[in-house]
């Protein structure tokens, strides 16, 4: 009895554990799903759009007139929707065009190869076709190693190999090879059109807009660090006891945000590649200078590397003597916060597509602070006896000087972007609302009233409208970890 009792007990325990495990799994997946959806609701919409496109294209099978027209080739419409429908309009358009053009070209070549093969008799044809397939597949596969082809036409090359092989060998059995090619091409065209229409007209996700926002967001992340760094580094000595007595760490996430910028290259490049396929939308033209965004992005990364080196000094074991820190504190906090403000202004300018002089004022302020630091350093040496002890703080300040240089380069590059995309030059007498209402009169460009020879890119100064609403959905999230670069 006891044995049976313990066995049933064990079984109940096993079921209980299994149920608990299942519940934990479901709760875990549900939580992650909710988080993914909440982080960027466009992901949910994208999933629904794909479902809609597939349900729609499957109707081809049910309507007899359509199905009778295309027969089994109908499946190519389904296949096209599944593999072409991507997260952003640019990726979908790029894949659709790649697929369409590659099918057309390879189809024509395949028909040609099939005709040539038939000339060599029934026994020779398979050999001739095999040789053709070998040569074309090898050459096309090798071409995928060219970086330029890889970036924009990789999918097209795959479809080229696929279609050429299928058309040339299918022809060996199908008598009506031209009809076959025509059917496939038209179903692929239909599938592609359904993808494009749904992708563009139902809550479109533009890769160009995302790249634009990503560049602004990355600048804001660096600005968060720089605006917080001065206080964190120089005031940590005073706050040490306080935070220890609190027993809890305050939110230091602003010091970590820049880390995602360090590895942003791949995302930026893929967004730029997709953006190049996108038609004119909102403020973005077809030949929008996406390369300039990549240049700005690269300079932002350069700056983030220096910030990464600077971050070593926040929690360094060796802290400089308090009196030395106090001497350089004013200049360093100003350098850090002013350069942070400059970056924030640049980000805001990119988001609102405006140019104003406040960036250059902040840069000039930070350069002045750097000059103040130099004077302090010149006069400090006689008072401090130990160079070793003051080294960490001095190094941190030297890195800040390098960061200011980086930010100057970023500002120059953003101004270049502003000139080529005709950012609005902001007039300080207008309110934010008026600026939005009068785009035409402001769409001129030029350098107005330079304030200082050190700052050649200063436009009309403005203090007010830094909260201009951005064009389009500029507050939307960056498509991190999205499905945009797959297949």
């Amino acid at each position: 009895m006891e044995v049976i009792g313990s066995a049933s007990h064990e079984k109940a325990g096993l079921i209980c554990r299994g149920w608990w495990w299942f519940k934990a799994l479901v709760v875990g997946v549900a939580t992650k799903t909710m988080k993914l959806g909440r982080d960027d609701p466009r992901r949910v919409i994208h999933a629904l759009k794909v479902g809609l496109a597939l349900s729609f294209v499957s109707l081809f099978y049910y309507f007899r007139p359509l199905y009778n027209g295309f027969g089994d080739a109908t499946m190519w419409a389904v296949l096209t929707v599944v593999v072409v429908f991507e997260y952003t309009v640019g990726a979908t358009l790029g894949k659709g065009l790649n697929r369409g053009l590659a099918t057309l070209l390879a189809g024509a070549l395949g028909v040609g190869a099939h005709h040539l093969a038939t000339l060599s008799g029934e026994k020779g044809a398979p050999m001739v076709l095999s040789i053709f397939i070998f040569i074309l597949a090898a050459a096309a596969t090798f071409s995928r190693f060219f970086p330029g082809i890889k970036a924009r036409y990789d999918y097209g090359v795959v479809i080229f190999i696929l279609t050429f092989s299928l058309v040339s060998v299918s022809g060996y059995h199908a008598d009506k090879i031209l009809q076959l090619a025509r059917q496939r091409l038209s179903t692929i065209l239909m599938g592609g059109c359904i993808c494009l229409i749904i992708s563009i007209f139902i809550c479109p996700v533009w890769a160009g807009q995302d790249l634009h926002n990503l560049i602004a967001l990355n600048m804001e992340k660096l600005a968060d660090f720089l605006e917080g760094f001065g206080g964190e580094y120089f005031e940590s000595d005073h706050g040490d006891e306080k935070s220890a007595s609190d027993g809890s760490k305050s939110d230091k996430s602003f010091l970590q945000g820049y880390k995602s910028v360090l590895n942003s290259k791949a995302t930026e490049e893929s967004l730029a590649n997709f953006a190049r396929w996108e038609p004119c939308h909102g403020f973005f033209r077809f030949f929008h200078p996406w390369d300039q965004y990549l240049k700005v992005g690269s300079l932002i990364r350069q700056c983030s590397y220096r910030i990464e080196a600077l971050s070593d000094y926040i929690n360094s074991d060796i802290q400089a003597p308090l009196e030395f820190k106090k001497e350089i504190q004013g200049a360093c906090i100003k350098m850090s916060s002013e350069s942070g403000k400059a970056l924030r202004e640049l980000a805001s300018g990119v988001r609102t597509m405006t140019q104003n002089g406040s960036t250059d004022i902040h840069i000039a302020n930070s350069k002045n602070a750097a000059n103040d630091l130099k004077s302090v350093l010149k006069s400090t040496l006689t008072k401090n006896a130990d160079l070793l002890q003051i080294m960490p703080a001095a190094t941190a300040s030297a890195l800040l000087v390098e960061i200011i240089k980086c930010i100057e380069e970023i500002a120059e590059s953003v101004n270049e972007l502003g000139r080529s995309t005709k950012f609005k030059i902001v007039d300080p007498t207008l309110t934010a609302l008026e600026i939005k209402q009068q785009p035409q009169t402001l769409l001129h460009r030029g350098i107005v009233n330079p304030l200082d020879t050190d700052c050649p890119h200063i436009f009309i100064e403005v203090d007010g409208p830094s909260d201009l609403s951005p064009p389009g959905n500029v507050n939307s999230k960056v498509p991190g970890g999205g499905a945009s670069t797959s297949n």
Copy 2:
């Protein structure tokens, strides 16, 4: 006559220009092709392998017994070869398994959905099927946003959606739906097997091996910089006039190599994802700790960010006074070159899968040099009057100290990798040849003879065999810009 003469002249000029343009194009493409092939001959072999696989699978169409068995489903074999055959074995295997399993699962679900739909009558079936497709496609598409699924099962999800849609809607017209599913599955299986056999048995490219080599290569690039930095920074003052009179810059490529390390994250992660699919090969087991490689890679990148900050000081406008530079020169050159040597030893250890104590000796030497620097800095202040002037050199030396800390962390992580993958512990009494010949007796692990409490990871010291030949093709190039991550 003159008009005709000038027209024909113009025409001849046009033809001449066209011919010149065509010739330039052909020469340009040929040069690039040669370079790509010479940089990594495995690319040429990969292209030939794809050609071979496709020619082979197209034979299915020509042999009547095979074609009669599968009919039009034969095309799925071709399609599978084109989309599954990737550059590395891991990527091919991952895609093949994803395709096979997803087809199996989605096929079963599709047949089930088709049966359920038939229960709701001829008119209700299309609606039920459409709803099924909508729900499954939307859910599966959303799942692609989960980073874990995206990294390893993205292709499987696409194939799942594709197969489910095709099987469930094809069933609406095909009476023999089970036969259709069986035919497709077996042709996909055949295509996948052909890919795998050719990928594994003809000059295989292992993603694991490539990741292993990439980690070693990245350490070598940082070592190149560090070994060269000291001489470049401290000796540039003496060499300035010489290089100016030469009129040509000497080869400074060793100072640029580290830049590719800054953006190596995406390549490392995709190689690790592919490597996880690969079976046991050479020294790599199925459950090889690829995550540890990613950790080492991440620490190497951390170090490269500091090096990027340090590189600012090589060509800085403000150079420290010669006498101060001379004072710290010895310590800094030693810090730089010893830390470079430590990295080179670590790289050589990874390449040869051995652990020896020389890394820790170099790290200890660089730390001693850092201590020497500290003494110099302590005594310097009284002699130098201008802190501002000595700042650049002092900052560079402070960054070198941070770099040494990074290298210590890298060494710790590489030792951890060595312990988990059982790197050989090198016995200094054996020659390089003997080490290669006696792997069994050396495949033990443990910490032997720690030399110093500062260096807990010191194994048996060895001076000799730094030129041990690596396992497998370790000198092969990293698949940069290759076709490995596509589709």
